[in-house]
């Protein structure tokens, strides 16, 4: 579904991504972790072309992201993305947030888009807030709306860029619950997160990054049981032992 082949990226002379190669199969949940500044967020933004990269190739459902001839808006409309800071549109109501993409990008009639949006809002438990504005919702609620918004486009895969990092601790679970449910339904997911509990629960594979490189790319049990690289061992011992 998503395949990366030796993806490299530089900011000027500074290399942010080096030779990243991996694959996410259909229905697979892959967690990307690593210390801050290791390039995880940059890597996931390359997948839907929000960040350009200079070398290598990324294919999503057979379409090359880096190819200048690719219709990027069309490709992006098929991949859902959830951001660290939610990024709901603050000047639009929750319902408008959920229907904008459906109407303007997919060309769905407004009534159909609305019905779809409200169904998803129901699913993330926020139907009571349909007429509110993002600023009136808590962080956890905003992030659930953001997930619903991404799902409203019927994506073939979902990208999560640290979806719980900006949340207060008591709100993290309400967002993770939605994500776990999604994973169990068989959604293809690439998730940048520090939530190792989530990784243990639903991930198939874990990718560990350091200094712009994929240091470890292993099955979940292998990663948590016997990480091969010393760097991943250090990282795990630091975030799991407290």
């Amino acid at each position: 579904m998503i395949s990366l082949k030796s993806v490299s990226k530089w900011y000027g002379s500074f290399q942010v991504l080096g030779d990243c190669t991996t694959e996410v199969a259909k229905g697979e949940v892959v967690v990307v972790c690593g210390p801050s500044g290791s390039g995880k967020s940059t890597l996931i933004k390359c997948v839907n072309g929000l960040e350009p990269f200079q070398k290598g190739e990324i294919l999503v459902d057979g379409v090359s992201v880096g190819d200048a001839k690719t219709d990027l808006p069309k490709l992006r409309s098929r991949i859902g993305m959830v951001f660290q800071n939610f990024e709901l549109f603050p000047h639009m109501s929750v319902t408008q947030n959920l229907t904008l993409g459906q109407i303007k990008v997919l060309g769905r009639p407004e009534s159909e888009a609305r019905a779809k949006g409200l169904k998803l809002l129901e699913r993330v438990g926020l139907i009571a807030h349909k007429e509110k504005y993002p600023g009136q919702l808590s962080g956890g609620q905003q992030q659930r709306v953001a997930i619903a918004r991404a799902l409203s486009m019927d994506p073939i895969a979902m990208l999560f860029d640290e979806p719980t990092s900006a949340l207060d601790p008591e709100m993290i679970n309400e967002v993770l619950d939605v994500m776990v449910e999604l994973a169990r339904e068989g959604m293809t997911m690439m998730v940048v997160t520090h939530e190792m509990g989530f990784a243990r629960k639903v991930a198939h594979r874990v990718i560990f990054m350091d200094a712009g490189r994929i240091v470890e790319d292993a099955k979940k049990d292998e990663f948590f049981g016997t990480p091969r690289s010393e760097r991943a061992q250090q990282f795990l011992s630091k975030i799991l032992h407290h």
């Binding site: 992006r76 800071n85 990024e87 549109f89 000047h91 904008l100 997919l106």
Partner: protein, 229 residues
């Protein structure tokens, strides 16, 4: 007050407001609308990753901001008829009249200032908003039109209005091309009746009341927006 005749004001009120003030307000409103639209396009060009586009817009803004307004008014007044002739292929310059000449001038001139305001407004919108629009599959124009510009515009309303108050005052410079704006109308009466002090004092008071009233409103609006945020 010995020697002053303030009755001249009352006698000419109708002319001053129906002719002069209508001209001034129409010019201000239209130049503001045109200036904000053109200025927003310039701001988008300035922020474009395509260098020639941002260079052209930058040069335009810097040129307009470095030339005195009176000169621009003169320059356009004498040049526009030739541009008109060139555009329509007519053999001789096409006179467009003081109003149209002034409108084109102020739209072009103010656009440079509105551009800088809108540029700051666009830059005040977090990068993530743009990403989130793109991630939904919106293209550049849709992301700008539905997400970035509405927020940038809303954030910048107080500053845009403040600039418009300056524009309102600046329109009085059209007297150099003998247009009958509020000041122009007053000047004509003043010269005809030889009541210069009375008329110019009155004009100054009216400009003050309108400008000060508007800026008080802007201040209130600003406080309200600050509370909402």
């Amino acid at each position: 007050m010995e020697g002053f005749d303030f009755d001249v004001i009352e006698r000419s009120l109708g002319y001053l407001f129906r002719e002069g003030m209508v001209f001034t307000l129409t010019l201000t409103a239209l130049a503001m609308t045109g200036g904000i639209i053109f200025g927003t396009l310039l701001a988008m060009m300035r922020l474009s990753a395509f260098k020639p586009l941002s260079w052209v817009a930058g040069a335009y803004v810097n040129l307009m901001r470095s030339v005195p307004l009176v000169l621009v008014i003169f320059w356009f007044f004498f040049l526009v008829p030739y541009i008109g002739a060139w555009l329509t292929g007519a053999g001789r310059p096409i006179p467009v009249g003081a109003f149209w000449s002034a409108l084109i001038t102020f739209t072009m001139f103010e656009a440079a200032y509105y551009c800088e305001i809108m540029r700051a407004g666009i830059q005040s919108i977090a990068r993530g908003q743009v990403w989130s629009g793109y991630a939904l599959g919106l293209n550049y124009w849709q992301t700008m039109g539905y997400i970035v510009l509405p927020q940038a515009f809303r954030n910048m309303i107080p500053v845009l209005l403040t600039q418009t108050i300056i524009l309102f005052q600046d329109t009085s410079l059209v007297y150099v091309i003998s247009a009958t704006d509020f000041l122009g109308a007053a000047a004509k009466v003043a010269n005809r009746d030889y009541r210069l002090v009375e008329m110019y004092t009155f004009v100054a008071v009216v400009y003050f009341v309108i400008s000060y009233g508007l800026s008080t409103m802007v201040k209130r609006l600003q406080d309200r927006i600050a509370v909402i945020r």
